[in-house]
Symmetry: C2
Subunit: 213 residues, 2 copies
């Protein structure tokens, strides 16, 4: 009973709690609309703790983007799609994995760094760069599989593994915006279905759903 859950957190947890709170609150409200006190209240810590661990609100945003990268990096590194022998199956498995991650509320499954990018790209370069590193770094985990699939399937075109990898992230980000605008997670699933179809077509596959009887 040394760590009583929602009441006062144990010593040493404040930084972690603030970062976790930042993911949830900023995804729901946006960066600019989230006050330092909002974060403190959500984390159950005081303002003193906040500015002990972070020099400024902007500093926290950068740390939150890095925290996001670490969390999502671990999630995808442990995902089952890596087990496929066929590199194209790994790429399509990634897309399916992203589709299956769409659960719960919009703020729960959408992307922190995509949200923060829109708000800070012109005004807070440090945050923007941290967001860019998160997105491109994650895209980078797809490049090797795409390159290998291109080789195995003898595909070449006016696009590179890097370009396609980054495009997957663009489609996901855009799908999230549509879902937010229409307040409907299915809009995100639709976008991901189109992405999957595109990749299958690029590699000469006919999507299973479209084989006619």
């Amino acid at each position: 009973m040394s760590s009583p859950g929602t009441s006062r957190p144990a010593r040493g947890e404040a930084r972690q709690r603030l970062l976790d709170a930042a993911l949830a609150v900023i995804r729901a409200q946006g960066y600019a609309a989230t006050s330092v006190e909002d974060l403190c209240a959500a984390a159950g810590v005081t303002k003193g703790a906040f500015f002990h661990h972070f020099r400024s609100k902007e500093d926290l945003a950068v740390a939150a983007a890095e925290h996001w990268s670490a969390l999502t990096g671990a999630l995808f590194a442990a995902a089952p799609y890596h087990a496929h022998e066929d590199p194209l199956a790994r790429v399509l498995g990634y897309v399916d994995f992203r589709r299956d991650l769409i659960r719960g509320s919009l703020a729960e499954f959408t992307c922190l760094v995509g949200t923060m990018t829109q708000e800070t790209f012109a005004t807070a370069p440090a945050i923007r760069d941290a967001c860019a590193a998160s997105i491109t770094g994650h895209a980078g985990t797809l490049e090797a599989d795409i390159a290998e699939a291109m080789q195995r399937y003898g595909v070449r075109g006016a696009w590179t593994p890097r370009s396609l990898a980054r495009h997957t992230q663009a489609v996901l980000q855009g799908a999230f915006i549509l879902a937010k605008a229409t307040d409907d997670p299915d809009a995100a699933r639709d976008g991901i279905a189109h992405l999957r179809r595109y990749i299958a077509l690029l590699f000469g596959q006919t999507p299973a759903e479209e084989t006619l009887p």
Copy 2:
């Protein structure tokens, strides 16, 4: 010399100037980070004028989204791609037109309502709905051409004209986010190139760039 440009605007212009300023400032800074006084300064009007024409900051955001819809609606209605006889050429012409609109700074060619959606989807339903109407309304202008192209080219699949039309908007929105994150308009062009390739593949075309010698 009754309307001396940057100095005091003529009477009757305040509302229009505020809406135009909102497009520029909110696209650059985001909605929450833009204060009413920022808007007034950019428009060259006083706070009194602002609250004479708009009941609240949120009210202005809704009006700005509608203003955005009207402006972009006129721009696309007058665009040359409608002249093609082939409906697929009209659809691909739309995509090319979007590509050619990428000029100038990021804030100049990216989408107001995509930005505002991210910030307000969970906190300001009125703004979100105005943004959704702008996006889905614009997507709607593509549906008829897509449907006609499907018929002419005998294409059927597990997707509808509406789904593909909305997907084009999602890809564009996502491409803008990538461009903002990497501070590089070419990231947006890359995303649009992938979108064009996807549509071509859906309709059984081999993109010109990929025909091998």
